[in-house]
Amino acid sequence: MLTVKGTYSKAIRHVLILLVGLAMLYPVLWLLSSSFKPNQAIFTDTGLWSHSFTFDNYKNGWKGFQGVSFSRFFGNSALISILCVLGNIVTCSLAAYAFARLDFKLKKIWFALMLVTIMLPYHVTLVPQYIIFSKLGWINTFAPLILPKWLAHDSFFILLMVQFIRGIPRELDESATIDGCGQGKLYLRIILPLLTPALISTAIFTFIWTWDDFFSQMIYISDIKLFTVQLGIRALYDPSGSSDWGALLAISVLSLLPITLIFLMFQRYFLEGIATTGLK
């Protein structure tokens, strides 16, 4: 039974949580509303509801610069992200299957090394990786961004999948083996379908992290035709202050759109993925 005092304090808590939530979303709402304001109103009219409403920012922003439009940048980002997602799904699940289900020499050592690489800061391999890729003539190609994912370089996802596969009952494997399934078939027909939730988590996180991965993109890509969305935004933006803010903010909104949509669509997997594995 709820007492009056109980309902009262509950209401207060509710309001508080709501207010904090709104404050949290404020920067995002500010971005959204400013992107529809005419340039001169963005900094004078600080309210969220605008008196003047325009799509010009989107039109201007989409034009891009130096004759390359943002459709190109979005296309590049999408291509890179999708190829990275595929790479991680295929190669991480292969490795995870071996670690979770197969017995082989030196397994413990490899597994320990795999765990260590999760915590390794990226920078300690950065310079030699750059040198290798530049000797291969791959600077200003997407290869340095995509190839690592096809070599299961994000060992984080291997761990996620190993833990997931360990939760799949072994009886399934055994009965399949008796029915004459080899390891390859077992992986393809039994494990992979059951691994779907972990694969979806992996796909979502890989997509988002690749989409947002400004650092590697900046290092490996300088040709405007190969620019990604992040590089495009950074190029539109001039820290000394003479940017076309309306266009910049409009493109910023668009750049966040794919991630947000994916999040809202797959929220369930997403939040469960974080909760069970402690991603990010």
């Binding site: 808590r13 949580i17 904090v20 939530g21 949290m24 920067p27 995002v28 971005l31 600080t46 190669t91 991480c92 292969l94 490795a95 071996a98 670690f99 197969l102 017995d103 082989f104 397994k107 490899w110 915590m119 800061p121 920078h123 300690v124 391999t125 950065l126 310079v127 030699p128 750059y130 530049s134 690592p148 070599l151 370089h153 083996t177 080899g182 390859g184 992986y187 988002i208 989409w211 947002d212 400004f214 650092f215 290092i219 935004i233 950074r234 933006y237 820290p239 803010w245 910049l248 903010l249 910023s252 909104v253 750049s255 966040l256 991630i259 999040f263 809202l264 939040l271 974080i274 990010k280």
Partner: protein
Amino acid sequence: MRTSRRLPIHSHNRTAYAFLLPWLIGFFCLTLGPMLGSLYLSLTKYNLLRPPEWIGFANFKQIFTNDATFTHSLQLTFVYVLLSVPLRIIFALLVALALNKGIRGLGIYRTVYYIPSLLGGSVAISIVWRQIFDSEGVINAFLGWFGLEGPAWIANPDYLIYPIVTLSVWQFGSAMVIFLAGLKQVPADLYEASQVDGAGKIRQFFSISLPMLTPVLFFNLIMSIINSFQAFTPAYVIGDGHGGPLDASMFYTLYLYLKGFSYFDMGYASALAWIMLLIIAVFTGIIFATSRFWVFYGDGKGGR
């Protein structure tokens, strides 16, 4: 993937290594090899154009004795880590506790609080941050309602660290979701029993919730520290991209990037990277070593 059908069930050496092949190639060519490579390069002078020139420990000597920017960037990064990690975790914990009390619409709140973690790493949000913390921006307008005059957060080097820390704390949602999951695991009868014994809300938090959450806390702490040391995009975009104004945004990774990829002093950058690795290793080592004193793995006796 090819399989050999005649393998005995108990040892799958060849099959297993076939499955592991991509990872193994990656491990040797993208991790181990480059790590050794950067260790070697850290002892050389190298600019991509001419072959590396062996100089022994000269890079390290220079870094530790004669590089004010290194000292400054390390300090700045420490300040950032020491401010943002605890604040982020405390916020995550508080909001998780508030949400855990069976509130209506939990799903919506969880989504709302998570969205910053989702978007926060992008260049776009860093740009927004720069703008709302501008001296004419929303934050100072808000402070103005209370009669406070906010400083020039972005232009004044003494204050620039605060917007950057705020951006990190703003993304507490991912840690919060992990805490929420951890809180769900706490058996309800613990609370009931303690209530019977007359424990108040605060006592319950320190004697039940907190000890039960320590494994999650431990994990969050390690990952947050590792990630915070490597923060780059906010410093790069909220600052001017060269560490300014007056080196106020010269985070460690930004300094490393500028050394390696602006000045092409790749030996020096490699030395910086190895120092960073050692610092992170020491930090995580300390947390691991102390964990047995404060991380509580349920043994049925109740946490202290």
